[in-house]
């Protein structure tokens, strides 16, 4: 199957692992990722201001490119996913906004949020199926106790993201189980790591991250996996003394497509 793929700025820079393992595991699963041509940065974070249009145009362009190819749009990075999904939602539900955008873009065919947006996790669960994933595992990660860290971007606002129960998500836990490891459920897995405030107020980010690491460890996690480069950065920078890796890396390991010298 072929899907449109939006990697985003970080995946081409500081989070090359996330990108590389996405490609590799998708190949195992028979999914061809077709990178959107000349994609532009999503902007990192969604502006909730109803009157901000320009900052959402790059997302609309990506969505529209996928629509023209008749493909779903797949993202991996939580940040990109949140921005693109929220933009798609306003294009579907805010007539006034969509009209303005379409008029600005001045192309013949209007776009009204027709594209299906999947995070790679959702693609694995809803399109491929965790059963199929299980079949592809060659190195079961038996015995590993892994805490899923969702952060805020994948789940909220839940009325828009609709990925999972925002307070008791299962999607990454189910993936961990499918890979043969043992998921560790802990309450702070959907609390914020501090996000972009790390730039201006690293102390604040540190507090947020420590709360998460502590809670994960207290519940028995020996490793944390995430979908977000910024989450990973914050957790590692702020003293995670257990490994923090991307879920795609774990997937690659289980599929036997991770090489020892991979990584930056």
């Amino acid at each position: 199957m072929k899907v449109s793929y939006f990697p985003g700025c970080t995946l081409k820079n500081k989070a090359k692992d996330l990108d590389r393992y996405t490609y590799r595991t998708a190949e195992v699963l028979g999914v061809a990722l077709e990178e959107i041509e000349e994609w532009q940065c999503c902007g990192g974070v969604f502006s909730t201001a109803k009157d901000e249009i320009a900052s959402k145009l790059s997302s609309v362009r990506a969505l529209k490119a996928a629509y023209k190819k008749g493909q779903p749009l797949v993202t991996v990075c939580s940040g990109c996913h949140n921005v693109i999904k929220q933009t798609n939602y306003v294009m579907q539900n805010d007539r006034d906004f969509a009209d303005k955008v379409n008029r600005y873009m001045a192309e013949e065919d209007a776009y009204n949020g027709e594209t299906d947006v999947y995070n790679y996790l959702e693609l694995l669960r809803d399109v491929i199926g965790f059963d199929k994933i299980k079949e592809k595992v060659v190195n079961p990660l038996t015995g590993k106790k892994i805490g899923a860290y969702y952060g805020c971007l994948l789940l909220r606002p839940s009325t828009v993201m609709k990925m999972d129960d925002p307070e008791n998500p299962r999607i990454i836990e189910d993936l961990i189980s499918a890979l043969g490891a043992e998921p560790v459920v802990y309450a702070n897995r959907n609390e914020c790591c501090g996000g972009y405030i790390a730039l201006e107020d690293p102390k604040s980010a540190e507090k947020r991250s420590l709360d998460i690491i502590r809670n994960a460890k207290a519940n028995g996690a020996e490793m944390i996996i995430t979908a977000c480069p910024l989450c990973k950065y914050n957790l590692i920078k702020n003293g995670a003394d257990i490994p923090v890796v991307y879920f795609t890396e774990l997937l690659a390991e289980a599929f036997g497509v991770k090489e020892e010298n991979d990584g930056e």
């Binding site: 009325t159 129960d165 307070e167 008791n168 459920v185 802990y186 309450a187 702070n188 609390e191 709360d211 502590r214 809670n215 207290a218 519940n219």
Partner: protein
């Protein structure tokens, strides 16, 4: 042609002061059908009524028009007068020339002219009146109460005490409902079992009451006074007539791992069980989902130990059909699921519990024999946090919470907090509240006692997140008065879950054609004036099926519902309002428009044969109005495209005749 008498009342000077009554009587004399016209000072007086009676006899009157005060005042009076004179009471029409004429218009000519026109309209209408006889239907003198909680129990006892037989249908193996699970009751703190179980025994011993436990209503047909109900008695695999409730079978049953629903899954029971010691009927029931014998034919231990020989693995569901005159719905409530509120970590920690679970945890007959111990490790909790309004007053997301206030949580939380501090003064108890709502007798005093005497720490604010870590629950809440974020490392958290109608209510409402609101609470016939009646005649509401309420309110509503039922059942025949709708089947299309607008479910359809040309018979679907159920609003008459539906007393032709008379 009618022979109409017109009677113009002076009402002293009330009418005669502004209206020339003689001129009115004179003018109406010439209207079609009028054979007699007169005026009198006080038509409603005995002398005035006698005047009417005499005129009826003397002039062979077939219809009467009284020009007087509002029909809301004396229509009933003059109908009785007509009746006494041997005339059908519905041959009387009133022209309201007081409230609508003499009292609001000052000039005599104007008033007189209008009075004449109103009189003409009434004459025009009477010309088209036909004698109406109220329909009569017999009343089956037996009531059905659906639900055996405190609401159903109280209603059944009150009806039975009035001498009428009552059946209670309860889906669980015992009656008692939610109240049987409670520990103490606010605001008096008497034990729930102590006040409930004697009532349960009363029910069992009352000769007028039959209990169908472990049973469900399957189908309802008929109408007020004449319901036919199918009840499914589920197989309990124990012969109720033989079982003595000795409990020997339970002791020996090898299947010990069945979650005990009475204790909300906090401990286990056997596959054969009696829900609790004071169950009524005290009869064992085999749970087919867990019984080894029923599942794979291997066991049979209970049979061996049953001295009464009551065990019957071959027992089948049984259908009972019974007739009832009235039905009382008392299906009660359930706390909502906490699945969607995992910011409170209900699914993550055994030590986050609901208030109903807390009741069992403090109940002497509960899983911890009344000792307040943490479900996770059996330790005594030193810090307890109560969270109010979990899922109540929640308008953001319908699938998550309920927009309404659940009403009982403020009081039971105060009760829990108080009892905890009373029994374990070393415990630190914090209650997070949005508002404390205590409108009830001795309610606010009770809540203040929790604070002032028992030292319960009330914080205005909500809990935002609970993080289980180690053996603690890290509670993060807000204190809006101090403008602080509060962090408490608690040992136990109790969630005051919103309550919602029992899941069985919705299908039941469909069977009863009783209406429900968007929250699945049953709606009342009138929210203020008829709060215990459903809009469907003969169906009454008792307890929380109608809306959240506490025990005293439930009991008083249960009694009110019973009195309405008694009032209905003591009648031998139901005399209806004859001003009801009926369908001219020759013109009816069977299109269902009328049925859709009928608020009472009074309209049904049947296939009927009609003679066609050349000795043929045509079968068509036509509407049938049940006059015992119809209340006469007339909504159907306008919905009907062919005009087949009409309303006696307010027929299309009658109203048009009035229009014509006024506009002439």
């Amino acid at each position: 042609m009618q022979r109409i008498g017109v009677f113009v009342c002076w009402c002293g000077s009330n009418i005669a002061g502004t209206v020339d009554v003689k001129a009115v009587a004179e003018a109406l004399k010439n209207e079609p059908g009028v054979v007699f016209s007169t005026d009198y000072q006080y038509m409603c007086s005995q002398a005035g009524q006698d005047l009417i009676k005499n005129a009826v006899k003397e002039h062979n009157l077939t219809g009467i028009v009284v020009c007087s005060c509002s029909p809301r005042m004396h229509e009933a009076t003059f109908r009785k007068t007509a009746s006494a004179a041997g005339l059908n009471p519905y041959m009387v029409e009133i022209a309201n020339i007081r409230e609508q004429c003499s009292w609001v218009h000052k000039e005599m000519p104007l008033g007189t002219q209008k009075a004449i026109i109103l009189g003409k309209a009434a004459v025009a209408k009477v010309n088209l009146n036909t004698p109406l006889t109220p329909g009569e239907s017999p009343v089956t003198k037996r009531a059905l109460v659906i639900g055996g909680g405190i609401a159903g129990i109280q209603t059944a006892l009150d009806i039975a005490d009035a001498g009428f037989p009552v059946d209670i249908v309860e889906k669980k193996p015992t009656i008692g409902g939610k109240m049987a699970q409670l520990d103490k009751t606010f605001p008096t703190l008497d034990c729930a079992a102590c006040i409930l179980t004697p009532k349960m025994v009363d029910v069992a011993q009352n000769e007028n009451i039959r209990i169908f436990s472990y049973s469900e209503v399957e189908a309802v047909k008929g109408f007020v006074g004449n319901f036919e109900v199918k009840i499914k008695k589920k197989a309990r695999f124990v012969d109720e007539t033989k079982c003595t409730g000795c409990g020997a079978c339970i002791e020996k049953c090898p299947q010990k791992k069945v979650p005990n629903e009475f204790n909300l899954g906090m401990d286990t029971r056997r596959a054969i069980y009696i829900p609790f010691a004071q169950a009524v009927p005290k009869v064992a029931t085999i749970d087919p989902d867990y019984c080894n014998m029923l599942k794979n034919g291997k066991c049979g231990v209970c049979t061996k130990f049953c001295a009464a020989g009551a065990i019957d693995y071959k027992q089948k569901d049984e259908m009972i059909e019974e007739k009832y005159g009235a039905i009382v719905v008392a299906t009660g409530f359930e706390p909502i699921s906490m699945d969607k509120f995992d910011e409170f970590a209900y699914s993550q920690s055994k030590d986050v519990i609901t208030s109903l679970e807390f009741e069992r945890l403090t109940n002497a007959a509960g899983p911890t024999a009344g000792k307040l111990l943490r479900p996770s490790d059996g330790k005594h909790p030193e810090k307890i946090v109560f969270v109010q309004c979990v899922g109540s007053r929640c308008s953001a997301c319908a699938e998550k919470g309920k927009e309404y206030c659940s009403k009982i949580c403020c009081m039971y939380t105060a009760k829990h907090a108080m009892l905890t501090r009373d029994k374990y003064p070393d415990t630190e108890v914090t209650v997070f509240y949005i508002d404390v709502r205590t409108p009830g007798k001795n309610f606010d005093e009770f809540q203040r006692r929790a604070v002032e005497e028992y030292g319960v720490n009330y914080i205005k604010g909500m809990v935002g997140k609970i993080t289980p870590e180690g053996d603690k629950l890290k509670v993060r809440g807000s204190d809006l008065i101090a403008n602080k974020q509060i962090k408490i490392d608690a040992d136990l958290v109790v969630l005051a879950a919103a309550i919602e109608p029992d899941k069985s209510a919705r299908p039941l409402a469909t069977m009863l054609t009783a209406s429900m609101d968007t929250n699945d609470f049953f709606t009342e016939a009138h929210p203020k004036l008829r709060p215990v009646e459903s809009p469907t005649a003969g169906v009454f509401l008792s307890g929380t099926c109608q809306g959240p309420k506490d025990i005293p309110e439930t009991v008083s509503q249960a009694g009110a519902a019973a009195s309405k039922v008694i009032g209905l059942l003591q009648k031998d025949k139901l005399v209806g309002n004859p001003c009801v709708a009926s369908s001219d089947q020759l013109m009816c299309n069977g299109c269902s428009s009328c049925e859709r607008v009928c608020p009472y479910g009074a309209i049904s359809y049947e296939d009927k044969d009609f003679p066609g040309p050349n000795r043929t018979t045509k079968t068509r679907r036509v509407a049938v109005v049940n006059p015992a159920v119809c209340q006469g609003c007339g909504a159907c008459t306008v919905a009907c495209p062919s005009g087949a539906m009409d309303l006696s007393g307010f027929k299309n032709t009658q109203i048009m005749a009035e229009v014509d008379a006024i506009c002439k």
